[in-house]
Amino acid sequence: MSDYFDRTETHLLRAVERNMPAVEATHALPRRFARMRRSRWRAVPVLLLVLLCGAAAAFASGLISFGAPAASVPVFATPDAGLGSLKSGSVQLLPISVPDPQGGPPWGMRVLSTTRGVGCIQVGRLLAGQLVALGQDGAFHDDGRAHALPVSADIQRLNCSLLDKHGRIFDSVTEKSQAASAAQGLYCRAPGTYPASHGPTPATCPLADERNLYYGLLGPDAQRITYSIAGRIHTVPTVGDDGAYLIVTTGTTHRYTGASGAAERRGLDVSDDVPVYGPITEIHYRSGTTCHLVTASSWIYGPHACAPAVPEPYGYVPTVQPTEAQLATPVHATLIREPDGRWAIRVSFKAPVAISSLRGEYNLEWHEPGGPPGYNAFEHLKPGRSRYGGLIPQGQNVARGQTLTAMIEGRRGAPLASGIRTGRVSLHYATGPLVQTEEDTARIAAGSFTIRVP
């Protein structure tokens, strides 16, 4: 009987035959069906407008009153670091409104972009033209009121990706087991629905208030999506010029306890450049192309997912990646004595290319003697730290010609081990919409060094 690693090998080898031409072509094909860009969000289904008006009427009639806004989190505090700061005028509430399965205010969605080339999507309940969270399911002391969701929100509820060359967001999000309140960071895990091995889980709301949310932007060419809920197939138009969609269902995670639910639990909170771990099976493009996202057992990616073949995400226009020739620069490594007599290595170089977005970051990596093979230690090279950390990638703008310096010191107060350190500086550059994904990050060498510590 084959073991896990044999089965993995078999899958990988099938993928070699099946996928390599597709992998080569990812992001490389020209947009074959360019079209005039229409005014944003013109194609708003009448039904959605009716729902929007209905929600406003409910608010006006006093059914739900407003409480204090939800707390803001300073994720956009620094214009030149991390996610950057909000671009003026970039926050847009999309004309999309989806009924909640149990009633109440519908669900809505808004987008924003930042000074560092990042676009974010946020969802919440929709009331009086605002995204709100409701005081229920343990949120806001169950006060039954609506609380405006701040744009600068918990990063977990603010799905961000890298804008393409034309400033468009391509991001698809799956969030399961969410509370119907839409309050930030509040998951709905009813008692007894999770295996004991997962540790104690907060029973924050009744089972009926568990929601699965599937939303995103599929690009300007996406016209319709097909999805399956409880055995029923639906095909619906996307909304606006950037292919927005939002699907809200009752929660399903509680049905997937035990081994049979492992696959479902994995997709609790995922974002990718096409929809994953959700009910969407097909994306239909204006050109006539249809992309099939899943087979019975696996995901389909790349041009072969689509007929006729196009790269995924279709319509994404990559930014121009710096070349190795543009990046080539001397890297200086100097052995210095610390005041306490221990050795340290100062590594410095002048940035050959400016960094102005979250897409790129200089990285120093070196081989630490006695450690695992390869470059087994690393430092991100940047001028300083941004003011807010959390889960945000910590890149920072760098001017062309700016000197960047890093120190290699002994770990945890120990002296620097003697031996040779070989290292390099490279630019890590995201080639697609997602931040920090290995397979879509180019590592472009800038320079290298070798130094011996006595």
């Binding site: 090998e9 899958h11 990988l12 696996s298 006695g370 920090q436 397979e439």
Partner: protein, 188 residues
């Protein structure tokens, strides 16, 4: 059908893989599975996660095969770089990464108890060797890392160390002999 083991270096195997040669990738996978699993066990401290991520690392390597730039004859440093990145992403997101597998349409296999034991087997060899290398005198450790792990030329190492090429060869030879006596086999 079992794939035939190939003898080319890793750069050649990855170039062939990018052209759709499955036997080339099979050789690369078998050549480096143990060290990658060992590295992931050290990085994560979790055998199940290490096994899961090993599949993800090779899937990412497959996706990146055409972008591979050989800095050393061995692709192991590159694979360990991917492994470190995947382990780091998994820590950050609180779940094991599977994006590369999704992109390749590879189902995510479950690890059973016997597979965890296999992770132990695969991981056992590499840290033991690393530990042994760590125990070498400094001059021999430097030489064998540069020659065997980084696969650099004798003249280049000699230049870096400021000693003659003959001295480097002697240090490598003595280190290998010492390792053979400890492991009872030829080191990888």
């Amino acid at each position: 059908m079992p794939e035939t083991e190939r003898t080319e270096n890793d750069a050649a195997l990855l170039a062939a893989t990018a052209a759709g040669d499955r036997a080339a990738f099979a050789t690369l996978y078998r050549r480096h599975l143990g060290p990658v699993v060992g590295f992931l066990v050290m990085e994560t401290g979790d055998r199940e996660l290490a096994g899961d991520l090993a599949a993800e690392v090779f899937a990412a390597a497959l996706l990146g095969a055409s972008r591979y730039r050989p800095e050393h004859a061995s692709a192991l440093p590159w694979l360990c770089g991917i492994a470190r990145f995947k382990a780091s992403e998994s820590r950050r997101k609180g779940r094991a990464e599977d994006r590369a597998r999704r992109r390749l349409g590879i189902p995510r296999e479950q690890l059973e108890d016997e597979d965890i034991a296999r992770v132990d087997e695969l991981a056992a060899a590499e840290p033991r060797l690393l530990k042994l290398v760590d125990d070498l005198p400094t001059v021999q450790r430097e030489a064998i890392w540069a020659r065997v792990v980084q696969e650099r030329g004798y003249s280049e190492i000699a230049n870096d160390l400021g000693v003659s090429e003959a001295a480097v060869r002697q240090r490598v030879s003595r280190a290998l002999a010492w390792l053979r006596t400890r492991t009872g086999q030829e080191p990888a």
